[in-house]
């Protein structure tokens, strides 16, 4: 016990004396959450709209006015012909060009059908699709209004009224925060643990430790404890930020959330331990831990939904700890389900923890 205590104290001294690393450890999660949850949002707003009006009449003016009043759009200018409009897209003056044909009003009045053309910058397909959807919605609304004022019965129409449960405003941070927690905790636990063990190998101190009567288990536990504590602090920091800054609902049980997070931490720490038994240099440990982040990003469901992956990739994803953690956090944080609904995720993560811990204990070398 005495050995373990003094070893843990030593580990904390290493951490506290390396001020730069400590700052990174404590500040990185805050920056990541703020960056992804607050600043970088995939929502579309401030769409710069240019108008090419070849019809030039009351009707087109009404449509343009409606766009100008909408809070997602603002009018950046008008162009004399479609070519000029296209030029505005090309040189980045506008995100979208609305083109009214020469006979827009005429067609609308006589045949009750008229087309407008939407030119979009398709180089960012996600954004372009979202912008087009906004514009179509708005056009639909305008069309209904116009038919009302013109005293024409609108044709049969089925208007879907969507209501997104748990996240009525479809706020992106609801998706990114759980994903980020999975990523940050994995990064800190795996990287810091593996680097700190490999550093002892690189500095030659491992040789002295191994030649001492210190049981390998004490070395391992002493290496895990400090990073467990730091990741736990990170976890709490992220939670506080989510609740008070991003105003996430936090609908589920806090205890269940903490419980599954602790299991996830153990999995990540064990991965770090495993890496440290495989490599000899700090650089290699760092690269290997960073490589761990890639599947975490792509297979956790944070960027791409698991369900829409090819079946083979879905199987791959089920080996990624973050995939289960992110799913559980989503359920607990956003949906606010009861604990029994995350039983599967908990079980999978607990199994992973058990396997990885025993594997890394078995491979930890008792000699050089």
């Amino acid at each position: 016990m005495n050995q373990l205590h003094s070893f843990v104290v030593k580990e904390f001294r290493h951490i506290f004396r390396d001020v730069r690393t400590m700052m990174i450890l404590l500040v990185l999660p805050v920056v990541m959450v703020l960056l992804f949850g607050y600043v970088i949002t995939p929502e579309v707003k401030d769409i710069r709209l240019a108008v090419v009006d070849l019809s030039r009449d009351d009707l087109t003016q009404q449509v343009v006015d409606r766009f100008a009043q909408n809070r997602y759009f603002h009018l950046t200018g008008t162009a004399g012909n479609p070519t000029q409009g296209r030029a505005m897209l090309e040189n980045g003056q506008a995100d979208m060009v609305l083109v009214f044909g020469e006979h827009f009003a005429e067609q609308l009045v006589h045949s009750r059908e008229a087309s407008v053309q939407l030119l979009l910058d398709g180089s960012e397909p996600n954004q372009a699709a979202a912008r087009a959807a906004y514009a179509q919605q708005l056009l639909l609304a305008v069309a209904q209004e116009l038919s009302a004022t013109m005293g024409v019965e609108p044709r049969f129409q089925i208007q879907p009224v969507t209501h997104a449960l748990f996240n009525p405003h479809l706020r992106s941070e609801f998706n990114f925060v759980p994903g980020n927690m999975g990523m940050i905790l994995m990064l800190i636990c795996a990287m810091m643990t593996s680097v700190s063990i490999v550093r002892e190998k690189e500095m030659g101190t491992m040789e002295v430790l191994l030649a001492s009567p210190l049981p390998p288990l004490v070395i391992i536990i002493a290496k895990l404890v400090p990073y467990f504590v730091i990741s736990f602090i990170n976890l709490v920091t992220i939670l506080v930020l989510c609740k008070y800054l991003l105003a996430l609902p936090f609908a589920g049980s806090l205890w269940a959330f903490m419980g599954i997070s602790v299991i996830y931490l153990v999995v990540s720490l064990a991965l770090g331990l495993l890496i440290s038994t495989l490599v000899r240099t700090q650089l290699a440990a760092m690269i290997l831990s960073l490589l761990l982040i890639i599947p975490t990003i792509y297979f956790s469901g944070m960027t791409f939904p698991i369900e829409s992956m090819p079946v083979m990739y879905q199987h791959v994803a089920s080996f990624i700890p973050a995939r289960w953690y992110v799913a559980a956090v989503r359920k607990l944080m956003i949906q606010g389900v009861e604990v029994q609904h995350v039983a599967r995720e908990t079980l999978v993560l607990a199994t992973m923890a058990l396997v990885l811990v025993s594997l890394s204990l078995a491979t930890f070398k008792k000699r050089l």
């Binding site: 205590h5 003094s6 101190t205 030649a211 001492s212 050089l368």
Partner: protein, 311 residues
Amino acid sequence: MDQPIVIVNDVRKRYRRVEALRGVSMQVDEGEIFGLIGPDGAGKTSLLRILATLLLADGGTATVDGLDVRRDYRRIRQRIGYMPGRFSLYQDLTVQENLEFFATTFNTTIEHNRHLIDDIYQHIERFKRRRAGKLSGGMKQKLALCCALIHAPRVLLLDEPTTGVDPVSRKEFWEMLFKLRDRHGISILVSTPYMDEAMKCDRIALTQDGRFLTINTPQAITSSYAKSLWSVRSDRMHALLDDLRQWPGADTVFSFGETYHVTIKNGHDSEQLRSHIAHRGHNDIHIERIDASIEDAFMALGDNNTANVTL
């Protein structure tokens, strides 16, 4: 009590391509300083690591304090003090913190074995709040020795403890080893590439290419050097080497700093040597009879076994 504290019997170790130890045997008696003398790559570190239970030998057996290095490695680790060749303490911890950490690692306290390290620790005590990384080379080695001694080991295994240390600190370090042997009866197995340090050991093993050339007291090794040895100098040292080697009476010729050490075959003498090199146009010729050093013995022994020796 009479049993040797370290017994090495036909130990072999091979790394992928290199054969580090080709079957070595030796014994370290209780309370003696045993030196492993030899150049880099001779296999000294491998042997020390095997005895420190850090490496497994590929063949042969070894015991430390009666315990097998393979089976009883846990108990051996309680009884040895190991100092690796590279400075292996925590550079970002202070002198005191390092010492305390290693004390608790061995389930003991600084106070408990204070008497063992007192002589050494007083050299570094005034720096106890300084980080180990900021100590001079000599100070680092003294701290490392303190850390290796803190649990009162029966044997010290020291891998090139004086490499990269200034001459004054080297001398001090050896005086510390003498005190540990004389006052506390600690057995010490030390490796060094410095031939002058060989004379300070009770017994030495001259080591080369994974083999022991000979094991004896340094005095016995130098006095058994039967051939008469001569130191030769002239005004044209570069040409002298070839001229000496071409003389039929020369048995061995080795460069030793500013002179050449030459042994002469039976039936030849130093006057013949002088006339030979004078005939080759050398002036300022100095030839004197000298006593053999460990280095001469090493060269001669090594020469018998392998064709080319360079030190």
